[in-house]
Amino acid sequence: MHRCKAMADIGRRQFLRGSALVAAGATVAAAGAAPPHAKAAMPAARVEYPSNRLANVSELKMNEPLEVNYPDADAPGVLLKLGARVEGGVGPDGDIVGFCTICPHKGYPLAYSADNRTFNCPGHYSVFDPEKGGQQVWGQATQNLPQYALRVAENGDIFAEGVDELIYGRLSNVL
């Protein structure tokens, strides 16, 4: 898999915008503690995810993962066009999915097997199925693979706007 620099850069800019929102929230909370009668800021029940443009549908090739990062540069993942509609899939054919590719067991980078259409972990042999919402076919992780909530704009731009499981190595999906 080759890394598309331009995409990563765009992702990073979007990431900065997203993380700025979180930082602003944190500032309010921190400042709120000082004045005697200040009202505590109400925290959201879930973290605020950035809406990041990851790629355009025209860049995806069938069954070839496109490397992306989400919700920030330290969280590698892929977009994948599967060729058949799947639950959770987006795009004109409902077949585009996105996953974090850090193994949720011990944090090893997952490799994609185009033959089996599975993500495989070289650390402890876990196998995940992108055609079934990242379900762990077999393995040691106690989570299925974190999947992106994707949105496709009219011009075909693909945005990630959330993740459905905790990403390995962080106690908050948005740092």
């Binding site: 495989n120 379900q135 106690t142 905790l166 106690l171």
Partner: protein, 821 residues
């Protein structure tokens, strides 16, 4: 869609959180964990000084970090009556797992009882009795009084042989030294119960009787031996799924070559070639796949023998090793007996074995070479021979076990670094009981006697025959009928009139009924038939000691409260004994009542000190305080002393060449091949189309007694799978996910079809002991001469019940094998 928790952040463990030693309470490996707890209204922060790790948690942590935990490692539980956050995460400093958590152990927190987060709400909280036609809560006093009165009346009238007992003998959850001592003292000391069985088999016997009779205890090596060995000869076992972190943390490093320094340091003066692995298993498993990925396919040999033919294979390898002169003559001379008789009695050529086992003679010869042919430098190969349920629940258990130990003895591989002939184990161990000699050998076939109408009272401790016995279909049918007789009688009597109630029960027993008492942590399947159900505490809700597969003993400290009125089993046994004493005294039998003295324990530590500390080998050195100090590395049994503030243990057994026989010599055993030994097996094989091989799968612990309430697991396996060859599926008109009936002359059960190209034609593999499809229903009643069940050799036909239901539609049916590209 696959199950997702949609949890995107977790409370951070504060720097001042409490830390408790925890040994995972599931499998034999016993991985080290820590339970961190802190008040529910507090939390740590990402700044290094605000979290227990002392690191900046606002940054992404690297692979293998200690500073991360998954949502499954988190919960909110009660501790001394207060809600606390809890994180149970693997301990990197534990030599067993070095920070690894399996898909089972890494869910300890999520599998805990939490009223705040609604996990494990199935847990029993109060004693229950059959009252007004259903199970109703009551007090301990009331429930135990009823149990004691009925039990006392039956044993007084009919003798102690009318009290039937099913009691686990293992460690870990629902087990441990405290609790086996509690039941052991009650049934083997206060009483002499003969009709007793163990959790997974229908009699009170050893699963590995032969090796013990040969003087070789079955847990004789240490996990480090897998890092040092030249060859692993693995029989009927699938360690990646069933002893996961032993395999990942001790076998894999050897295959990857990362234990080279350790080999050179500990075993100087000999070459250390790449490790080779032989698997004896009719089925290709993920363990074999992982070994091929790590050691290279050239260093892995899979002997996919015909089911149940292990004995012929071992005898042929043994014969070949002897003929080639690859035996350890000095060891045989100094430390064993009976070698010549075994050589004569077990003679089997490679060709004979090839015909029986269905594998090429050249492969059998290759296995013999890998086991025993001297290395290039002329030094003996170090060979480890682990085995588990494929042998233990397989054809002709006693002889097959003996034949394997013969090979290990002949090659001098017991009591030696990098050696060992060891069972891999299921549960942890935790056995401390008074003598069971009165039970006899062969022991009573308890399930069959119950089917035959014997017994008046049945006490069941942490066992579920409905899910995990053989001949289960028939057992359930009769058991329900007999316990219903008592239920109907109880429903007709006013509950508050104790004398009338006891009389009604006794009358029902005299009409063929059975009064059943079930002690467990959850409502079990057999519990549905019981009249009294008593709630037990599990690991972490009480202090608990057990040992793992290398005899490593640890203390799991109590870190949370048991649900409701639940108590540890040892204290339930003690309170039951107290009630028995009182009832017998009231009946005017002071002598009998006096036998129930000595149960004045108020804590689990009292039971430990009364039992393990007094009766176990080396137990006099071991106390809770000393185990607390020893932490998650504990001490390897037997303990031999306490020096400089540390318990001293035993790394390997028999390093001195002295074995567990009267003359200290290990015994070779004659173990001739005699085909499918258990009654009815050959007939079943001849009559039905498919082998219904069976066993465990990675996600699930044991019979899924906790997993059945875990969304992550039940999402993956709503039904037990049955792996089938795709061509067999086509022939039978089956698609992936279809529900099928598996049926034969013993019974019927159901499973979900999982297409498996590596499965041989006519050979299936079904999950064992699953609540939504019990494989034991189709296992016939045949056992070996010591009443060991033969679950593995089962044949049946398969027919479609229904298309894949809704809760199967989202499942993946892809290959479970890891693929590097």
């Amino acid at each position: 869609m696959a199950f997702k928790r949609n949890i995107d952040r977790l409370p951070i463990i504060p720097a001042d959180a409490k830390r408790h030693n925890v040994t995972c309470h599931y499998c034999i490996v016993g991985c080290g964990y820590h339970a961190y707890t802190w008040p529910v209204n507090k939390q740590g922060g990402p700044e290094p000084d605000k979290n227990i790790f002392g690191v900046d948690l606002s940054e992404q942590q690297a692979a293998e970090t200690v500073a991360w935990y998954s949502p499954s490692m988190y919960n909110i539980v009660k501790q001394n009556g207060e809600d606390v956050h809890i994180v149970v995460k693997p301990d990197r400093e534990c030599s067993v797992n070095s920070g690894l958590g399996s898909v089972r152990g890494a869910r300890i927190a999520e599998m805990s009882y939490s009223e705040a987060r609604n996990t494990q709400q199935q847990r029993l909280t109060d004693p229950l009795v059959w009252r007004y036609g259903q199970m109703q809560p009551t007090s301990w006093e009331d429930a135990l009084d009823l149990v004691a009165r009925v039990t006392a009346a039956v044993i007084k009238e009919k003798g102690e042989d009318a009290l039937y007992v099913s009691a686990y003998d293992h460690g870990g959850a629902g087990g441990g030294y405290e609790n086996t001592w509690g039941t052991g003292k009650l049934y083997f000391e206060a009483m002499k119960i003969k009709n007793i069985r163990i959790h997974n088999r229908p009699a009170y016997n050893s699963e590995v009787h032969a090796t013990r009779d040969m003087g070789v205890g079955e847990l004789n090596n240490c996990y480090e031996d897998a890092e040092l060995t030249d060859t692993i000869f693995c029989v009927g076992a699938n360690p990646l799924e069933t002893q996961t972190n032993y395999f990942l943390n001790h076998w894999v490093p050897n295959m990857r070559g990362t234990t080279a320094d350790k080999k050179n340091e500990q075993l100087p003066g000999e070459e250390h070639p790449p490790v080779r692995i032989v698997f004896v298993d009719p089925r290709r498993t993920v363990s074999i796949n992982a070994c091929e990925a790590e050691a290279g396919a050239d260093n892995v040999l899979h002997l996919a023998i015909n089911s149940g033919t292990d004995l012929a294979l071992f005898n042929a390898i043994f014969t070949h090793i002897v003929e080639k002169g690859w035996t350890d003559k000095a060891f045989i001379e100094a430390s064993t007996g009976g070698f010549d008789e075994a050589v004569k009695g077990n003679k089997m050529t490679l060709e004979e074995a090839s015909n029986i086992c269905g594998v090429p003679a050249a492969d059998i010869e290759k296995a013999a070479q890998w086991i025993a042919e001297p290395k290039a430098d002329g030094k003996r190969r170090r060979t480890m021979m682990p085995y588990e349920k494929g042998l233990i629940w397989g054809n002709d258990n006693y002889r097959t076990n003996a034949a394997l130990v013969n090979m290990a003895l002949a090659t001098g591989n017991i009591g030696r670094s990098g050696g060992g002939c060891v069972r891999l184990g299921g549960h942890q161990e935790g056995y401390a009981r008074p003598s069971d000699a009165h039970v006899g050998k062969p022991a009573a076939y308890v399930d069959q006697l119950l089917i035959d109408g014997q017994g008046g009272v049945h006490h069941i401790w942490g066992c579920d025959h409905y899910k995990t016995t053989l001949n289960a279909h028939e057992f359930k049918k009769v058991y329900k009928k007999r316990t219903d007789i008592v239920k109907d009688a109880m429903s007709a009597a006013p509950y508050g009139d104790r004398d009338a109630m006891v009389k009604a029960i006794i009358d029902a027993i005299n009409q063929g009924g059975l009064f059943a008492v079930n002690v467990d942590i959850i409502p079990t399947k057999i519990g549905q038939a019981c009249h009294v159900v008593l709630p037990a505490a599990t690991s972490g809700e009480a202090n608990l000691t057990s040992m793992n597969g290398e005899r490593r003993m640890r203390l799991t400290e109590r870190y949370m409260d048991p649900p409701g009125q639940a108590m540890p089993d040892c204290l339930i046994a003690a309170r039951m004994a107290n009630h028995m004493e009182q009832v017998l005294r009231d009946m005017g039998d002071a002598d009998y009542a006096d036998k129930f003295k000595g149960f004045d324990w108020t804590t689990e530590e009292d039971a430990f000190m009364d039992g393990y500390h007094k009766v176990a080998k080396g137990g006099e050195f071991v106390t809770y305080d000393r185990l607390r100090e020893a932490g998650n590395n504990g001490v390897q049994e037997p303990a031999t002393g306490y020096e400089s503030g540390k318990l001293v243990g035993t790394k390997r057994l028999y390093e001195d060449g002295k074995f567990g026989t009267e003359d200290g010599r290990a015994k070779f055993m004659v173990s001739e091949w005699r085909g499918l030994q258990a009654p009815g097996k050959q007939e079943q094989k001849d009559k039905y189309k498919y082998l219904i091989n069976n066993g465990r799968t990675n996600h699930v612990w044991q019979s899924a007694y906790l997993d059945q309430e875990n969304d992550f697991v039940m999402d993956r396996w709503p039904y037990p799978f049955i792996q089938m060859n795709p061509q067999d599926m086509t022939d039978a008109g089956l698609k992936e996910g279809d529900l099928v009936e598996i049926f034969n002359d013993a019974g019927a059960t159901q499973a979900m079809v999982y297409p498996t190209p590596t499965a041989r034609r006519g050979e299936t593999f079904m999950m064992f002991g699953y609540p939504t499809g019990v494989q034991g229903n189709v296992v016939n009643a045949g056992t070996n001469e010591l009443i060991l069940p033969n679950y593995k050799q089962t044949w049946a036909d398969i027919r479609k019940i229904a298309d894949a239901p809704r809760n199967v539609a989202h499942l993946t049916f892809k290959s479970q094998e890891y693929k590097s590209t």
